[in-house]
Symmetry: C2
Subunit: 278 residues, 2 copies
């Protein structure tokens, strides 16, 4: 079975989403330290596929994923997965909520559970960890009673028990992950196409020209984001998702027209569409 690289360490939401959605399709799964390391490992052929977050419903786009795909690699998005982000409050067996002396987690995770923590643990200090998985590991090694805000998978990895489930302030908190590789999946009839559009100069109407090509063919835009190119001050590229597959006539036709008008258009993949994040 083929291998898949993912954003580690083991026990975070990325591994949870991978196990929940893709475990039957892959043999070895290999944790990497950063998103670019995962994507570059796919490009180098170290692993057949990669699995990284691209967008969270609260935090927004994972820009390092957008920028690495746009500038540093020549690989494709083959699939997208939308996974709910459900935080657990966990502790060592036998520890009760009343005893808890500190709560450990990644600053983003504690921020996402702020209301729950303020209401139930108003005086307990929040201690930072580098990941939700590291938080579970830290708590499992502590002598004094402590809790971690972490994933179900990290709780079982470090023999911790779940004290409270679904403690996040926004129950609609979800993350969109992508599977990347070197293949271009065939059309399924319900696909999405992602691309990076580099315009010739930053002038009125440049984005309009791009959107006209899609709108005039009835192609719906599902995401657009302007991102600095980091090369020239004030120069932007557009990260765009549209409904449809690059082999659909309308999409093919629109992209063909755009080729002549843009400085560069980089296809980042056509793949089956998951439900929207919003």
């Amino acid at each position: 079975m083929p291998s898949i690289g993912y954003l580690g360490p083991p026990g975070t939401f990325t591994q949870e989403a991978l196990e929940a959605n893709l475990s039957e399709n892959f043999g070895t799964s290999v944790p990497y330290g950063t998103v670019p390391e995962v994507l570059l490992a796919v490009e180098a052929g170290e692993v057949k596929s990669g699995f990284v977050p691209i967008e969270n419903s609260i935090e927004g786009s994972v820009n390092v994923t957008l920028d690495t795909l746009a500038f540093e690699t020549q690989i494709y998005i083959e699939r997208e997965i939308v996974h709910p982000i459900r935080h657990r409050l966990v502790a060592k067996p036998g520890v009760s909520e009343e005893e808890i002396k500190e709560i450990v987690s990644h600053p983003h995770a504690t921020a996402q559970c702020r209301r729950f923590l303020t209401r139930n643990f108003p005086k307990v200090p929040l201690v930072a960890a580098n990941s939700t998985a590291e938080a579970a590991k830290t708590v499992s090694g502590m002598d004094e009673p402590a809790a971690a805000v972490t994933t179900e998978i990290a709780a079982s990895l470090y023999d911790l028990v779940v004290l409270e489930r679904d403690i996040e302030d926004y129950p609609s908190n979800r993350t969109r992950f992508i599977v990347v590789g070197k293949e271009r999946p065939p059309p399924t009839g319900a696909d999405k196409t992602s691309m990076a559009c580099f315009i010739r100069e930053n002038r009125p109407g440049s984005l309009l020209e791009i959107l006209t090509e899609f709108a005039s063919r009835g192609i719906n835009l599902t995401k657009i984001e302007s991102r600095p190119t980091k090369k020239v001050l004030g120069e932007y590229y557009f990260f765009i998702d549209i409904d449809g597959h690059v082999e659909d006539e309308a999409v093919k036709d629109a992209l063909g027209s755009l080729m002549g008008k843009l400085r560069e258009i980089k296809l980042l993949g056509s793949y089956p569409a998951a439900p929207p994040l919003g």
Copy 2:
């Protein structure tokens, strides 16, 4: 002198940017725990102005700032400030680099200095903190030799000395901060206007209609981002920045035309433009 609320704690880049750019304009500066708390304090009149990050050149938009302005408050952006993010490696006086047993910082800060830390401290564990300021405070209270990745201002706040300057991997790392309040500054001739555009339905051409109003009047777009409304699944709004002031004839005219076409258009402010982030 009027008061200003800012995203605390004291000693982070937000306070550094505030002190460097605005200290002569404000009397008391009041730290708050979150971006919404700052913005709501301005709306409630607890402080006259607020100061929060809105976009970082590497991390991208601060979505909580965009969403709070779009959905929860009726206040205006009065000014923008672009401030460089320069990380310092700091320690207690007398500690040398060779002795350092651990390096403390917010996970984003250590991620932004990854190359420097890997090259110079390959075996030193990275310990997480809830903010760059908390990292400095932690190191100032430690007995064993440790270092923090933090701001110049936190180093002096906690009597630490700077061992290395500008250790970030991307020297172009900058954050755009905004001053918010209840006033609408007059045109200066080099202004920007920010708005949130809510469309009636997600259909091909809806964004095109918006952009046509600007492009046909020669108005340049400097930022666009689609964001979920969090109310209806798959429903988006657009956060848009354009060149020009709402009192400019062309801008006024474009916004007037859009009023009739959109479900809602919320003006978030016209203010003097700072240099672009990109």
